[in-house]
Symmetry: C2
Subunit: 138 residues, 2 copies
Amino acid sequence: MTYTIHEVAEKLGISTYSIRYYNDHGMLPFVQRDANNNRVFHDTDLEWLNMIVCLRETGMSVKSIKHYQDLIQEGDDTVNERYAMMCAQQEQTLAEIADLKKHLATINYKVAHYASILENNEPDSFVPSNLRTEAVGK
Amino acid sequence: MTYTIHEVAEKLGISTYSIRYYNDHGMLPFVQRDANNNRVFHDTDLEWLNMIVCLRETGMSVKSIKHYQDLIQEGDDTVNERYAMMCAQQEQTLAEIADLKKHLATINYKVAHYASILENNEPDSFVPSNLRTEAVGK
DNA sequence: ACTTACCTTCGTGTTAGACGAAGGCTCGCG
DNA sequence: CGCGAGCCTTCGTCTAACACGAAGGTAAGT
C-alpha cells in the first residue's frame, strides 16, 4: 500500500509543508520516489511520521529527532543513547502533563467564578477595581 | 510588598525578557515605576503574571491574552465573553492532556522496548532493516 | 570613582513551520 | 492537441514569542 503526500497529510493531520520539511531535514529518510519524482509513502513511512508527530507534540526539537533518526541508522551500538532519549522524553512528558493539570485547576477556578457571576446575575463590581475580583484565587 | 523585575522573574520561573515583553504588549498594564523609572511589581501584578503564565502554557496566544486583559478593563459587560474564553481554554487543555497521554503511551512502549533489549543483551538485528524493529508497535 | 542594576530603543537570531512565486514535469480529459 | 491538476524544485518572505547583544543613560550602593 502506498500513499501520496496529500493522503499522508490527511491521515496524520499535518500539512504537506511539514512532511516535506521533515523529509528535507533528514527525519524521514528513505522516502521513495516514482518515475515523476513524486514522493511515494509506504506504511513504514507512516509509522515513522507518526513517531515524529508524537515526539514533536511532546516537545522534542526537530534537531533532536534528527539525531534520534541518525542513531537508529548507526545501528545497535546506539541503543543506550536512544534509551536515554526516550526516558528523558517520558519524564518530560509526565512533567508537562502535571503542569497542565495544575494550570487546568486555575482555569477551572476561573470558569466557576464566571459561571457563578452569570448565574446569579450578580455584577462583579462591589469592589472598586476589577483587578481585585480578577485576581487568581488560591 | 514590592518586587524588582529580577525577583519576579525568579519567583515565577520566567525571564526578565518575557516580563518586559508582556508589559510592553499590554498584557500586564498598571505596572508602576519608581523615581528611576524602574518597574515596581506588587502582589496583584504577580497574580496576573501567574495567570498569564498559566494561559500561555496552556496554549493561549499573546494576542488572545491581551484581548482577555482588554475585556477585563472594559468591565462587567464582557463577563460572557470572558467566560467563553475560559471554557474554550479549559476544553483545549483537557484535549491536550489527553493527547499527551496518548503520546506518552507510545513513548512508554519505546522505553520498554529498549529496556528489554538492554536487559537481555540481545541485539536488535535479527531482521535486516532497523526500520522494522523501530516501527511503532500497536 | 566604580560597579551594579535598572532603563530605553534598535536590531538580529531562533524554531518550526506556513505560504506564495516561478519554473518545470506528467497525467488524464475532452 | 491543449488544458488543468497535482506533483516537484528552489528561493524567499512571514509569523510567534521570545532571547539576547549593543549602545547609551540614570541612579544607588561601596
